[in-house]
């Protein structure tokens, strides 16, 4: 069986190993994040939430997923 190649990416400051060519949509799905309540950045560029399944991740990609919390 062919072994899947893993790549290192950073999500919200934490390093994660994911399969090479993983789609951003799969990563978001794995974290069970409600899409309507977040915004997503890939390498400091805002990502269109409708196009997550078209984005393949590369080594050292930086993903930021943010939402609203209490603040003054």
């Amino acid at each position: 069986m062919k072994k899947k190649i893993k790549i290192k990416i950073k999500i919200n400051g934490k390093i994660k190993n994911v399969d090479k060519n993983s789609k951003l949509s799969n990563i978001i799905k794995n974290f069970k994040i409600p899409l309507k309540k977040v915004a997503i950045e890939l390498n400091e560029e805002i990502v269109d939430k409708k196009k997550l399944n078209k984005i393949s991740l590369k080594t050292n990609d930086k993903i930021e997923i943010v939402h609203f919390i209490g603040g003054g």
Partner: protein, 257 residues
């Protein structure tokens, strides 16, 4: 009073009290305090989702953005770049265009960095944001913000979270007299009467967080601020008497036995 409208960026609000959602013990307490305060606008911060603890409750589950206007802020930003990034992300979450800009300049006193604030206001306005701007109590800077497209001027009463109340009432009055924009006191209030003073100075509203969230009884303080804002507005509209340095009797002088 029913015709007395509080309008920000062409939106009508009944309550002149805006409250922050930070520093509460938990979200349940925060939601109840907001409810008691009668606030229709709440400030919220943009932060990373906790990807480790997926069960952590979400603010939106406690405060419905369809019922309460979320005002995303840039708390924690110390330069224009970070503030712009934060508010662009906030807009992406669900189309929020009405925002609170807050660019800080000093980690200890939390005073606003006005050059960066001014720069950010210009850019955000051009991008279609409606920007309510946290600023110092300098009338000249307030004027420049107005000219840069701010939709509300929000000078501090005192340093954020300090509870000192309005330190420079004269400046607030000067800003009031020079602008037709909504003028909202933001930061530094300590007790309900501070809100009344702000409203009596002619401010259109007040923004409060710590004074309610950290009061011994946050629910009671939320209610106190609600009433204080109403009282202050009524007092302002009623028109105070002139100040005299000598006494003037309240009872008629005529007919004294």
């Amino acid at each position: 009073m029913s015709k007395d409208k509080f309008i920000i960026a062409k939106r009508n609000f009944k309550s002149r009290l805006i409250v922050g959602t930070g520093k509460y013990k938990n979200m349940k307490e925060c939601a109840r305090a907001i409810n008691l305060s009668g606030a229709e606008i709440v400030t919220v911060a943009v932060r990373r989702v906790n990807i480790v603890d997926k069960k952590k409750p979400l603010l939106m589950d406690f405060i419905d953005p369809k019922k309460i206007t979320y005002l995303p802020n840039t708390a924690g930003c110390f330069n224009s770049k970070d503030a712009l990034r934060t508010l662009r992300l906030a807009r992406e979450i669900g189309g929020w265009k009405l925002v609170k800009l807050e660019v800080l300049g000093d980690k200890k006193n939390l005073f606003p960095e006005m050059i960066e604030t001014l720069k950010s206001t210009e850019i955000l306005t051009k991008e279609g944001f409606q920007v309510m701007v946290y600023c110092n109590d300098d009338p000249l800077m307030a004027k420049r913000l107005e000219n840069s497209g701010a939709c509300a001027i929000m000078p501090l009463a005192a340093p954020i979270g300090s509870g000192l109340g309005i330190l420079n009432q004269v400046n607030i009055k000067i800003i009031r007299n020079q602008t037709k924009l909504p003028l909202i006191i933001d930061a530094g209030l300590g007790q309900a009467s501070d809100a009344t003073i702000a409203m009596e100075l002619g401010c259109d509203g007040v923004l409060v967080n710590t004074a309610i969230a950290k009061a011994k009884k946050p629910f009671d303080m939320a209610l106190a601020f609600k009433n204080a804002v109403v009282a202050g507005r009524q007092s302002y509209l009623a028109g105070r008497i002139n100040k005299l340095i000598m006494g003037e009797p309240s009872s008629p002088k005529k007919g004294i036995i």
